[in-house]
Symmetry: C2
Subunit: 446 residues, 2 copies
């Protein structure tokens, strides 16, 4: 009856209200794409006999698959090409000129490389926002990951580009056994005028889809918006009807107190938080505490690898917790339980998937990561939850299951040929690294 039996692991259960609980020596029974049962380890071997596939997870820690709520995953192909530069130069002299080199094939191979990195670090779901997304979707289908995909569009490309992103939404919504969901993805209020945003919201409403957008990324954007439009970027989203559909807002480091009630009145909104990018680019921080107190979920994210360098959600999680303590100069801020609730429950809620992701319980989708905490850097294991937050490394990820299927086992990728993918990307390195500032896809001038 059980398709996949994960045997004798310790199961971390994170609940929004009850905090965290550790179920020691339990079995996880997976039927199809869902968790059927989590029960004390049955060493009578009866369960084993009835399972199609059995994984011995003795001594391993099972956590829900990690969720990356905002990325531009294929950008791994430009990794390391824009260091130590201001945000203005980062966009205008680096990122947007580099992206003028981009081909559909680059997106495909870049997405595969990024998915390999994410699977190896326990990231099972990514909300991705980029170009040529049919090719990204194809990569997700092959890798076996879960993804919420949106085709980025800029307002100055005209309203017909919205028809393209909407057609992508229709083409791929629910594809790959439901692993792929799709989102309308206008870039940001500072690159899309009100009319364009209104049309994007109309498309989303018509398709029953949500909108994934950058907004109030830094305080300077909020100030520029107030100067130019007389309202904050969040107010722009509210007034153009964007917040009437489900919305993922990337970054929000420039969210003001006056924006919070607008977000509370939204249909369903979540904010993606990518602390490594914010540190590296000196962007400030998302007001996590104010958002959470207002009931607005904040999820973990990596943004793209040109700002974040890695796509490692365990790293984002640790940085988030430590930065909250640092900013408050108070070590009691953001305790372990809260950080883990954000990683698992709130990150799922940002994607509107809290009923099916982010918890190891019956009825939830079987996205499971097994961590090996036997390394010297975890010993002795006085506190498993502290070790998960402050010691765990991507390299501790031992096994990854998505939708009931094994994608990584004993640290070996099962669906992707990493050598082949890396070598395909490397072949294009010289072309990808060309940078002619005048040849850019967009200008940053919020």
């Amino acid at each position: 009856m059980t398709d996949l039996l994960v045997q004798d692991c310790h199961v971390l259960v994170v609940d929004e209200t009850d905090g965290i609980q550790l179920l020691e020596n339990h079995d996880i029974h997976i039927v199809g794409q869902r968790i059927e049962r989590v029960a004390p380890h049955d060493n009578q071997a009866q369960a084993t006999a009835l399972a199609t596939e059995v994984i011995n997870a003795s001594g391993l820690l099972a956590i829900p698959g990690l969720i990356n709520t905002h990325a531009h995953a294929p950008m791994v192909i430009f990794r390391g090409l824009a260091e130590d530069v201001s945000i203005e130069r980062w966009f205008n002299e680096y990122m947007w000129p580099l992206e003028s080199n981009l081909t559909e094939d680059d997106v495909y191979w870049g997405m595969l490389l990024a998915l390999a990195e994410m699977i190896e670090s326990g990231v099972t779901t990514v909300a991705d926002h980029y170009f040529y997304m049919d090719r990204a979707a194809q990569a997700v289908r092959e890798a076996g990951s879960r993804a919420a995909l949106g085709w980025n569009v800029f307002g100055d490309q005209g309203r017909e580009t919205l028809a393209r992103t909407a057609a992508f939404v229709e083409r791929w919504q629910g594809a790959a056994n439901g692993r792929i969901t799709t989102w309308i993805a206008p870039h940001a209020p500072y690159t899309c005028d009100d009319e364009f945003l209104r049309a994007a919201a109309d498309h989303a409403r018509a398709l029953g889809a949500g909108i994934h957008i950058h907004a109030a990324e830094v305080m300077a954007q909020t100030e520029a918006s107030l100067a130019a439009r007389g309202k904050t970027p969040i107010q722009v989203l509210a007034d153009t009807g964007v917040l009437d559909v489900p919305t993922i807002i990337a970054h929000g480091c420039g969210i003001l107190p006056q924006d919070i009630p607008l977000l509370q009145q939204a249909a369903r909104v979540g904010v993606a938080h990518a602390p490594k990018t914010y540190m590296k680019l000196g962007m400030g921080l998302t007001p996590i505490n104010a958002l959470r107190q207002a009931g607005i979920p904040v999820g973990l994210a990596t943004d793209g690898a040109v700002s974040n360098n890695t796509l490692d959600i365990l790293e984002s999680l640790r940085l988030m917790a430590m930065l909250q303590k640092h900013e408050a100069r108070d070590p009691e801020v953001m305790p372990i339980t809260q950080a883990l609730q954000i990683a698992f429950r709130d990150s799922a809620a940002v994607l509107g998937l809290e009923q099916s992701l982010g918890k190891l319980a019956p009825g939830f989708l079987a996205d499971v990561v097994l961590l090996d905490l036997s390394g010297a850097h975890h010993q002795p294991l006085h506190s498993l939850s502290a070790s998960l937050l402050y010691n765990a490394r991507a390299a501790d990820v031992h096994t990854v299951i998505v939708d009931g299927r094994l994608l990584l086992h004993e640290r070996r990728l099962l669906t992707l040929d990493k050598e082949r993918i890396a070598s395909e990307v490397r072949r294009s390195m010289a072309r990808l690294a060309q940078r002619v500032p005048e040849k850019r896809i967009q200008v940053y001038s919020p």
Copy 2:
């Protein structure tokens, strides 16, 4: 003639003034404990024939062994036992009660476990400050690491304890082929009165040793010192003669501008910076920029695992650079070259070992780490230095050489039995975790 030949690696050369340079496809010739030659790869096989031992390092990146300028390594035995608590509670309700459980054997096994973790993460030298240091030195001798060891003493234990720490200095100075150096280690100005500090400086001067001490750890300590003694902790060190001998100051997050000239006038002083601990405990930050501009070296550190959780200098390095950008809200601050100069050159200078450590060049001690940057999280490798700073993980450490001897090869520890060590520590977990606040070794009341 060559004892150990590291063949065909890429060699990172970091210079104080010239910045960083990459020597592609070079051989490192090691004779005895030192680097004899770094030369373009000789594929004539002649060099190979003349070498006693050869390592194929093709495609690997060679960096100088990482230096941890301030730790309490054996504290790994208490890892995870004091989370999300204020500094006062951290000391008085957790750390110092826990340390009343400490035995000599705990220090030995704890030090071995910590050295295993550090070797696996490329840390070849540690400046350690703890108790029962004969046992820590014994562990260092066995592991093959390099260490600067000091036996922690508190002023309220009386001046005779200084004789003990001084005797330790004499017993172990230059031991293990010079891998062990020793330091006088009074705890801090807030736990040692002026007379005690003066006596410590006298001992150091008499022995030709330096002093490793905590000072101005947080701004609250500086304020308390000004209130109680009418001077800053750094002024106390200057007035008691501590700064007349070589000094390692741990943390210095409470260093004021008026302290900088005092440090400039010191015999030789360096400041150890442990950013993960500062974030977790909300301590603020060492004024790295002001210190460096005044010519005072700042080195990377992990502090103990009860605050820092890990002993991972690559993590400290990354956090240091990102925090400097974050605090300044300026991504141009602390560029890659400067961060790597701090990691390699300045960290060696904090220990007074800049003539022999922190550079892969002839005459330097052969402490070499080989990193495997072939993982998906590094691909494609547009910028090797960016990848070292922002992507490299402890698990990328492939080979570690200290004093010309292999300690880790192909990720396997050669000198330590990790399973045995972890199991010895685990046996004591219940006893170690006992916590009776009234039974503490010291009271935090700066």
